[in-house]
Every structure is written in structure tokens, then in C-alpha cells.
Amino acid sequence: MSGEGRLSGRLLIVGAVVASLLLVGAYLAAGGSSYEPKKVQDPCQPRPWSNPQTLGQIANQFTISALDGAACQLGVSREELAQALATPEARERFTKSHGIDDEKLAKAIRAGLVRAVDDAEEAGALSPLLAGPLRQTLQQIPLDQAIEIINNAQDFLGNAESFLGPAQDIIEQFLP
């Protein structure tokens, strides 16, 4: 049977307490209780654009602003909406779980795209002459097309530039 008695029982208990406290203390000091998942931001709060230069950077900010605007309208996070728009199945699950129909989703995404144009204009990334027609176009487009623009903002902005750019040049010649 165990126990020859060469070590005091009290010493063993004190040793156990000290070893346990040292371990837990060291792990806590190293940040063991500090884990917080990366917070998702409130999509209704304005998110300033960080001076985008290239078309890719503008498209990036445009996408984020559009997702923010649509998510704000729907009362969900930008991240949840991005996941929902990833596949038709994810979209169906999302609309079912939030009790919203395609019309409401389309309205929210259109509003998001308009907010993205507003933000782009405010950041100086989009001229007012381009922004106006874009806003009008975006307010009319069907749901699938609106989602496609979010998914491929770079093409959308590139096309807008090539269609409306020459007209803008002409108009600018007549401006003071």
C-alpha cells in the first residue's frame, strides 16, 4: 500500500496548491482569459474610406459600403449578409430565418449600393456627375443584378467609368 511517510502530508498539499496557482496565474498573465472573438462592427455607423487610389481599392471600399448599407437596412451584421449572399442556398436560409422576402432584400441591397455611391462621392473617389446617374440606375435594378454588383463592384465601376466617363468629360468642358 502507498505511503512510507517520508514526506509530510501538509507539505504535499501546500505544494499542490502552489503548483496549481502558479500554472493558472502564468496562463492568466499570458492572456488566457482575454479571448474575445473579433467584433463585428455596427453597419449603421459611417465607415470612412481610406483614400483609395486604384479602381480595385475603390471597388473594395464600394463593396464594404454597399454591404454596410444593406445590412443596416435589414438590421443584421455586414458579415451575416456577406455570408447570406455567398450562395443561393445561404440566401434562402437567411431570408427564411429573418422572415424577409426578396422584395425587402432587393430594397435593402439597392439602398446599400446607393450608400456606397454616396460614400464614394464623399471620399472624392467618384465624381458628382457620375454619381447622380449611378444612383438613379441602382434604385431600379432587380435583386440578382444588385447582388452581382456587390459581388463584382470592380467590373461595375469600370463599366460605369467607360460608359459615363466620355459624357462626363464633355459636361466638364461646359462647367466653370
Partner: protein, 454 residues
């Protein structure tokens, strides 16, 4: 028959049966995938065995005394082996669980009968209790590592199939005793009942066993499901615990007072579990110090409480039955309390991690088209991993050919993986803390064990 082979056979019988309580821990993720069940469902492969052991141990001890311990041990091992074969051939969770219940019935009979046979074989009840407790502790400690190795090298079924020849080998020397019993008609040994079951020692055993079972079960799930280690890698990692338990048994030899050993052991188990609850990073190395504390603690506390529960009491088989019952009831209670808690935590953390991961992708500087494509692939990957801690790597394949984009994507993958790893690790924190609390609560019955020695 010479005593040594019989002692070895009895120790092997006790070891293989009590290893069965924990041997499937590392195989659970594999069983969970192969039999297409849930985390909560697969825990019943563990719970069913421990529940039946808890309920059957004392009646099995009574039966062993009635029919003769030799015959009881031989029949018990045969039933254990037969049910092991059924477990190995099971292709449905319900069949596996039913076979596990039968296995536990046979196991309970074999283990309690072994304790009845050991005193005559080793010369004293005290020595018999030591051999019995050591065989059980060795089996329980080595079980997970052996199970992990077999799962990885062969299959989860091989764990049960290998038990068949092992149990039969253990049964051979015991058959001679059974034949002797049949020939001489010696069935019930002379009754010399002393003392009721030691309430406080058994209660403390239940609490500590709950904490230890949780430590093993949760750590294995964290390693395999959370950190995506293979069963063999996880087996190597959790081998730290039995190695520390060997050291702990040496330490136990140095201290005479069983109550102090039990208290120190319970504190170390709780300290180790609290350490696992506060892992600062998802790194294997950081699991080693807590495992050392748990291993040292389990060796100290289990042997001390078993000695206290058996000390000066007879018949040994009945009191041994109570300790088996308490230990396995503790495992069941631990799993029943903690399974729904960590299942809910895993689901919540998974949800948070997905949102956090999407935020990382959306906030990244990569090309927006690639970004949304990645978000879509990650989302689809999570679809296929529904209900599990997600594995994100496949969503990042193939990588972009452009070196700049490739570097950005790899950095993003690292950030996302870090979010998921930390989320998965954190998902186990509450359960580890609750298990630590169970270990600390055991200090109350340990403190009372001398004052009110029933």
C-alpha cells in the same frame, strides 16, 4: 497453479476492463464521423459503458461471491470478450451502445470477482487492493493512448476486436480456479463483513472521477475536433497524463496520510483543469503543464481514496464494487453535466468564429472579387462542416498565382485560422472550469473522510 501467472491474469483482466472506460475516448471523433451521429450522441458510447458499470458493480460483486469468484471472473471475461466482438462489428450507433452495455456487465463481474480472487493469490487483502487499484489505474491511464494508436493505425473497430483475445488470454489461468470451485463445491467464501461502504471516500471518488473523465474527454475533443490533430498525434499528446501518473504513484509512496494524498491529488487535478480552461494560445506545448498536474493528481487521489474505501473492510469484492460504482457514476455525471454545456459552447463559438472570420476577410486588403469569392468558399466549406468546428484550409485552395495576392491570401488564411483556433479553444473553457470545480468540491468529502469514517 503458480500464483504469478494468475496475478498477472487478474491484473490484466482488471486493466483491460477499466481501460475500456476511457479507451474509446480518442476513437470518438472517428466513430462520430463514421456512424454519422452527433457529439451528444457519440458520448453515449462512453456514458453507456460507465453507467452500466456504475449500476452493475455491486450486484456483480454479490453474484461473484454467490457463484464463486473464479467462475464469475471467467464468465465475466467471456461476456466482455463476446460483447467486444459485437462492438467491433457494429455498424450503427444503437448496436454499438447496446454492445457496450453488455460489455460493461461482463466487465463489472470480472473486475469485482478479480478483487475477491486476489487476496488468496497474493497473500493479503492489503496487497490485493494495491494490485487491483494499480491495475485499474494503469488501464484507465493508458487506455486513451492505446485507443488513439489503434484508431489511427488500424480502425476504431480494432480497439474492441483486440480486446477479445486479451480478455480470453486473461481468462485462461482463471478457468483453473473456476474448475476447482466446481470440483470442490466451494462457492461462497466465509462471510466476514466489516463496515458499511465508506460514504465520503466513495463520494469523493465520484467527484474526482467526473473531473478526470472530463479532462480526458474534453482534451481529446479539443485536440482532434478543435485543433485538427490526428488520433495518433492526440494519443501522443495525452500520453503526458499517464506518464505523470507514474511519477504521481512514486510521490504517493512518500506520503503516509491517505487523506493528504487525496486532497493534494484533487487540488492538482483541479489546478490542471483550470490551466486547460485558460490556455493562452492554441498550442500543444501549453497543454503539457496542465496535463502533468492532472496526471500527478489522479495517481495521488485515486489510489488514496480507493485505499480509504477498502481499508479494513470486508468482503473486499463488495467494497471494491462500491469504488467501481462510484468512479463510473462520477464519469457518467461528469459527461452528462458537461456534454450539453460544451456542445452549446462549441455551437456559439463556431457562430462567433464564422462572423469573426468573415469580418477578417471583408476587412482584408485583397482584391474585392477574390475576397467575396473566398467568403463564398469559406461559407460553402462551413456548410460541409455543419455542426463541427470548421476546417478552413480547403476554402483557400487553389491559391492565387500572383505572388502578391498569394501572400495576402496566405496572411488572411493565417488570421482566419487563428480566429477559429482561438474560438475552438475558448469553447472548452467553461467545461474545463466546471470540471475543475467538481475536483475542488471533492475536497469536502475528503475532509470529512477521517472525522466521519463510516
Amino acid at each position: 497453479m503458480p500464483a504469478r501467472p494468475r496475478v498477472a491474469a487478474l491484473a490484466l483482466a482488471v486493466g483491460v476492463v477499466l481501460a475500456d472506460s476511457s479507451i474509446v475516448v480518442l476513437a470518438l471523433p472517428e466513430i462520430y464521423r463514421e456512424l454519422d451521429t452527433s457529439v451528444a450522441g457519440v458520448t453515449w458510447v462512453l456514458i453507456s459503458f460507465n453507467l452500466v458499470m456504475a449500476l452493475a458493480a455491486v450486484p456483480a460483486a454479490l453474484l461473484a461471491r454467490r457463484v464463486g469468484p473464479g467462475r464469475a471472473a471467467a464468465v465475466g471475461l467471456a461476456v466482455f470478450a463476446g460483447a467486444g466482438l459485437a462492438c467491433g462489428l457494429a455498424d450503427e450507433l444503437s448496436t454499438l451502445i447496446a454492445a457496450r452495455c453488455v460489455q460493461a456487465l461482463g466487465g463489472a463481474l470480472a473486475v469485482t470477482a478479480a478483487l475477491e480472487l486476489l487476496p488468496a493469490t497474493v497473500g493479503s487483502e492489503q496487497r490485493a487492493a494495491t494490485v487491483w487499484a494499480a491495475a485499474g489505474a494503469t488501464g484507465a491511464a493508458l487506455g486513451p493512448a492505446l485507443g488513439g494508436l489503434l484508431t489511427e493505425l488500424v480502425s476504431w473497430q480494432s480497439i474492441f476486436l483486440l480486446q477479445v483475445p486479451v480478455a480470453l488470454v486473461a481468462a485462461v489461468p482463471i478457468l483453473a480456479v473456476a474448475k476447482h470451485e466446481a470440483a470442490t463445491g466451494v462457492i461462497e467464501p466465509e462471510l466476514r463483513e466489516t463496515g458499511r461502504p465508506h460514504l465520503w471516500a466513495n463520494l469523493a471518488l465520484a467527484m474526482v472521477s467526473a473531473a478526470i473523465a472530463a479532462a480526458l474527454f474534453l482534451l481529446v475533443l479539443l485536440l482532434i475536433e478543435g485543433w485538427r490533430l490526428s488520433p495518433i498525434e492526440a494519443a501522443l499528446v495525452v500520453t503526458v497524463m499517464p506518464l505523470a501518473a507514474i511519477l504521481g504513484s512514486k510521490l504517493a509512496d512518500l506520503v503516509a496520510d491517505a487523506r493528504s494524498r487525496a486532497a493534494a491529488g484533487a487540488i492538482l487535478v483541479s489546478g490542471g483543469l483550470a490551466g486547460l480552461a485558460f490556455l493562452p494560445k492554441a498550442t500543444i506545448a501549453l497543454t503539457i503543464p496542465p496535463q502533468i498536474l492532472v496526471g500527478l493528481g489522479l495517481a495521488l487521489v485515486l489510489s488514496a481514496l480507493t485505499e480509504t474505501a477498502l481499508g479494513g473492510r470486508a468482503p473486499q469484492a463488495i467494497h471494491g464494487g462500491w469504488t467501481i460504482s462510484s468512479r463510473h457514476a462520477g464519469v457518467v455525471i461528469g459527461l452528462l453535466i458537461l456534454t450539453p454545456i460544451f456542445t452549446a459552447e462549441i455551437n456559439q463559438q463556431r457562430h462567433d468564429a464564422i462572423d469573426a472570420g468573415t469580418a477578417v476577410i471583408l476587412d482584408s486588403p485583397i482584391n474585392p472579387l477574390l475576397k467575396l469569392d473566398l467568403a463564398e468558399r469559406v461559407s460553402q466549406q462551413l456548410e460541409t462542416e455543419k455542426g463541427k468546428v470548421p476546417i478552413i484550409d480547403p476554402a483557400f485552395e487553389p491559391k492565387p498565382s500572383d505572388p502578391v495576392e498569394r501572400a495576402e491570401v496566405e496572411q488572411l488564411q493565417g488570421e482566419l485560422q487563428d480566429q477559429l483556433d482561438r474560438g475552438a479553444t475558448h469553447a472548452f473553457s467553461t467545461s474545463f472550469l466546471l470540471a475543475a470545480l467538481l475536483g475542488l468540491i471533492a475536497l469536502f468529502p475528503i475532509a470529512l473522510s477521517r472525522r466521519v469514517d463510516l
